[in-house]
């Protein structure tokens, strides 16, 4: 029997409902308005009144409207067919909606309930299984989409029956499992999971030990992100957050990419779904769209669904992680999500924290980031969710609550700097402010040294020192004038420019330079570092700057040339010639 209720108050999308029975925190309900039903979530309960946030416009709603509580929290529907879809924050399938306008109260199935899939069993009758164990798989694009023991199952189950290899409907029972009390549970290809609850169907979550390549030198070489790690990109508008995230989503070495467009421009989402079906995945050669899911809650869509959108995205990520895949989740922008929390907290008349954000903002953010991770699955295999969020700090000032709270939660920090963006030094990731905590992890250091040779982390640290010293030298030059400082200062400055122009800067609109594989990054980085380690004498600062300018120009041509092509070798020889001048 579902609990019912009646609307007794309305302020914008916060509605007060008088309840006639038990309700739960975060329970979903529908409010009747004429012949449509508006979806809402309980966010506070006081006496017999439940306060619900409505995921739609409440225009026209008055007291007395009937409410029906659903007995469940906001759930994601998980099953084969999620990839390539474009969902809104509540997991409605936007492609399947016919109207040009999103009519409120219109909800549809996240998956095609009539689809059929080629099922292959992975277990036998009598097997003992737990939540997250793989019962079988169906091909979803090029991925093996595992059909798992539902995450909500507690304790051990015994497989009573399992379907043979064959084609089945998504809603068909493909297995029956039985718990220790002898209760049978039929399993279909679909399961549901409440989005705000972390999926814990794994045995352990060790510290990350591998890196996740993005093809971006300023990240992979300078401040690598770990597979299963977390990072964030704060930056003022126009600093290139979105271009950077797009580049990562195109190039990253992950099997599933989830893009949560959270409160951002609709035209940017359009760009993704116009481009991705055309572009190739550099790792598999398949179309990028085949490994991508987009959760689009653009800035003009209902604010409360914005909060739901990041959780929906994370839940889908955890679902694919449980299948043993490397998942990368990108959210642009987490500030908009925080603002949605602020609006609701304000209407609930909670005492505000800094900048009117809710007091528990920091806790909410860190709980969310904690859902990422590299895990061991019940069958001993591994999977990961790597999370990268952008932050849009008000006025570009990093001393604001969302940036500060995120800094506590995320392990990588990629600060986009206005001054770098202004001088077109893209990506505008500040080399000195930014950091990756993973570089300090012994596990990661070991991986890096195995991949790139002993002393790699030490080399990276040294590169950062060169950049730092170059910056200091430049300050001296600017204060005292070109002539009044020793030529070594110019040498120091130009070495840092060399690292900046050749390694840190990267042209995301150039076909070759946009994606730099690790082998190439290693070669270029070691080359640049060997140049920096060399000692050269210059008679004056003009000779120094023109020498390094020539070097930089030639090395950049190498970046633009196809790897190990004739052209590439030609420029390499030119670099050697320039270097030989100062032997």
């Amino acid at each position: 029997m579902k609990t019912t209720g009646e609307v007794v108050g309305v302020i914008a999308n916060l509605v007060t409902v008088k309840t006639f029975g038990p309700v739960a925190q975060n329970e979903i309900c529908y409010i009747e308005l004429g012949n449509i039903r508006l979806m809402a979530e309980v966010i506070k309960i006081k006496g017999e009144n439940a306060f619900v946030q409505v995921f739609e416009s409440t225009r026209g709603l008055g007291i007395g409207a009937k409410v029906e509580f659903q007995g469940n929290m906001l759930e994601a529907t998980l099953g084969p067919g999620i990839l390539t879809r474009i969902y809104d924050g509540l997991q409605n399938d936007l492609k399947a909606m016919e109207d040009v306008f999103l009519q409120r109260g219109t909800y549809n199935d996240p998956l095609d309930m009539n689809s059929t899939w080629e099922f292959t069993p992975l277990c036998n009758v009598g097997d003992i299984v737990v939540a997250g164990n793989w019962l079988g798989w169906v091909p979803e694009g090029w991925l093996e989409h595992k059909i798992m023991v539902p995450f909500k199952c507690k304790g051990q189950y015994k497989v009573k029956s399992i379907k043979e290899k064959g084609t089945y409907k998504i809603t068909d029972t493909i297995a029956v499992i039985e718990n220790e009390e002898g209760e049978e549970l039929p399993v279909t290809m679909i399961q549901k999971w409440p989005v705000k609850v972390p999926v814990t169907a794994f045995t352990s979550k060790p510290r990350p030990k591998y890196t996740l390549e993005t093809g971006i030198r300023a990240i992979d070489t300078f401040n690598p992100i770990a597979e299963g790690g977390t990072g964030f990109i704060p930056g003022p508008f126009g600093a290139g957050k979105t271009v950077l995230q797009h580049a990562i989503s195109k190039q990253a070495d992950a099997q599933v990419i989830i893009i949560a467009a959270c409160g951002e421009r609709a035209n940017e989402v359009v760009e993704t779904f116009v481009e991705f079906p055309e572009l190739d995945d550099p790792h598999t050669g398949r179309k990028l769209m085949e490994r991508t899911v987009i959760i689009a809650n653009t800035s003009n869509m209902p604010v409360s669904a914005r909060e739901a959108s990041v959780y929906t995205a994370m839940t889908i990520g955890e679902y694919y992680r449980a299948m043993g895949y490397k998942v990368l989740l990108l959210a642009d922008s987490t500030s908009r999500w925080a603002q949605a929390l602020r609006e609701m907290s304000n209407r609930l008349e909670e005492l505000p924290g800094q900048d009117a954000f809710p007091m528990d903002l920091s806790a909410i953010i860190s709980e969310f980031y904690a859902r990422a991770g590299y895990v061991y699955l019940p069958n001993g295999k591994t999977g990961s969710v790597t999370f990268l969020g952008t932050v849009s700090p008000a006025g570009g000032n990093l001393k604001e609550p969302v940036t500060e709270s995120t800094k506590k939660a995320a392990r990588c920090f990629y600060a986009l700097q206005q001054s770098r963006a202004d001088s077109k030094r893209y990506p505008a990731i500040d080399p000195l402010e930014s950091y990756s905590k993973y570089l300090e992890y012994e596990e990661i250091q070991k991986t890096l040294e195995e991949k790139f040779g002993a002393g790699w982390t030490e080399l990276v640290t040294r590169a950062k020192t060169y950049v730092q010293r170059g910056k200091e030298a430049n300050e001296q030059i600017n204060i005292l004038g070109d002539d009044s400082v020793p030529v070594e200062y110019h040498d120091r400055f130009w070495k840092s420019e060399l690292i900046d122009f050749v390694i840190l800067q990267q042209d995301s609109f150039d076909v070759t330079d946009a994606n730099c594989p690790m082998e190439r990054q290693k070669m270029m980085f070691e080359l640049v570092m060997s140049i920096c380690d060399g000692k050269r004498d210059f008679k004056d600062f003009e000779e120094c700057s023109s020498y390094y300018k020539r070097l930089i120009n030639t090395l950049r041509q190498m970046n633009y040339s196809e790897w190990k092509s004739e052209q590439f070798d030609k420029y390499m020889n030119q670099v050697n010639d320039i270097l030989n001048e100062k032997k």
Partner: protein, 438 residues
Amino acid sequence: MSAFQKTYTHLTALTKATVTLKATGAANDELAKVDGRLAQVVKINGNEVTLQVFEGTNGIPTNAEVEFLGHSPMLKVSHELCGRFFDAYGHPLDGADIQGEERETGGPTVNPYKRKQPSELIPTGIAGIDLNNTLVSGQKIPFFADPNQPYNQVMAMVALRADVDRIILGGMGLTNDDYLFYRNAFDNAGVLDKIVAFVNTTDNPPVERLLVPDMALTAAEYFAVDNNEKVLVLLTDMTLYADALAIVSNRMDQIPSKDSMPGSLYSDLAKIYEKAVQLPSGGSITILAVTTLNGGDITHAVPDNTGYITEGQLFLRNDSEIGKVIIDPFRSLSRLKQLVAGKKTRRDHPQVMNAAIRLYADAANAKTKLENGFDLSDYDNRALAFAKDYSERLLAIDVNIPINEMLDTAWKLFAKYFSKSEVAIKEEIMNEFWPKAE
């Protein structure tokens, strides 16, 4: 809603902007008349209903008559809108009522999946826009301008030159003089039948402004969605709109966030700007807005939130070298320009644009050197001379030439002041377009 609407005559609370009364059957966002003034339901708590009175509550007695109208703000849409000026409520300012279908303002959102990628160039004749920051149909872009800059003139000029089917003006807090300026400008250009205007002047109560963008965009949707037209919406001044939001939120006892603005400012502005769209049927809504700055401060909450929402911004700047207002090539940005530059325009466009801006930046550096008392090289002097010409002949807002002529002008200036290697454009393009010696 029932046809019979009860009249209430007992207010239980009054503030500067709101009245509260006991009433049944009121709906959220519904309009009402309080003592003859238009008001809107903003809060329902049991049988207590709070209404926001747009004109303010001066002189309203506790026994004022309150009558609920049974609907939220509406606009009558039809081709009779054309050539007419309306107030914030959609009532004609210039004569007889119009006939048309009544539509609720502030309607639903376009499904992002149904949007088309903007790809049509909107030429304006202004090189600071067409050449450097190309406007694309379905784009939303504001002018960031100081209050003393001639942004209304520039907007009117852009509107009149732009190749669009319909121009919708949403004026918020316009001075009466500026309102008359727009009227005359449209009238003199003989394009009044292309125009629809919704105007809230400084003579009107500030809170009324909140209705203007929704009115303008409802009209825009009628022309773009129902009639597949290319519509250009002008919104001036969005900072004054935001100020009105702050007033209301303050009076509703909401906790302010940065710069005393409501916490929902981003969503409030996004709801308006995201109405810009390229529709699958061919119609489009392009939004050109004005955000006035306080002393050029773009970190203030209004320009800051706007920058995160819009697809770029256009900066106006007084260039003392030539004594004219120019569109600043450094701080201005059109995020959609790469969708048309070199694709819908001549193929040398992106390269010419970048080279000119780079050389202009060299001039800026030379100028700094000069100001700091350092000697200038020959190159610096040529860069400075180029910058002056470039500013005068291309960046100034009074320039009005077709886009190919802008490109040709840029090439002439390159050849006049620089060598080919200094301009550093792809060789193949250079060979085709570099002016032949005469």
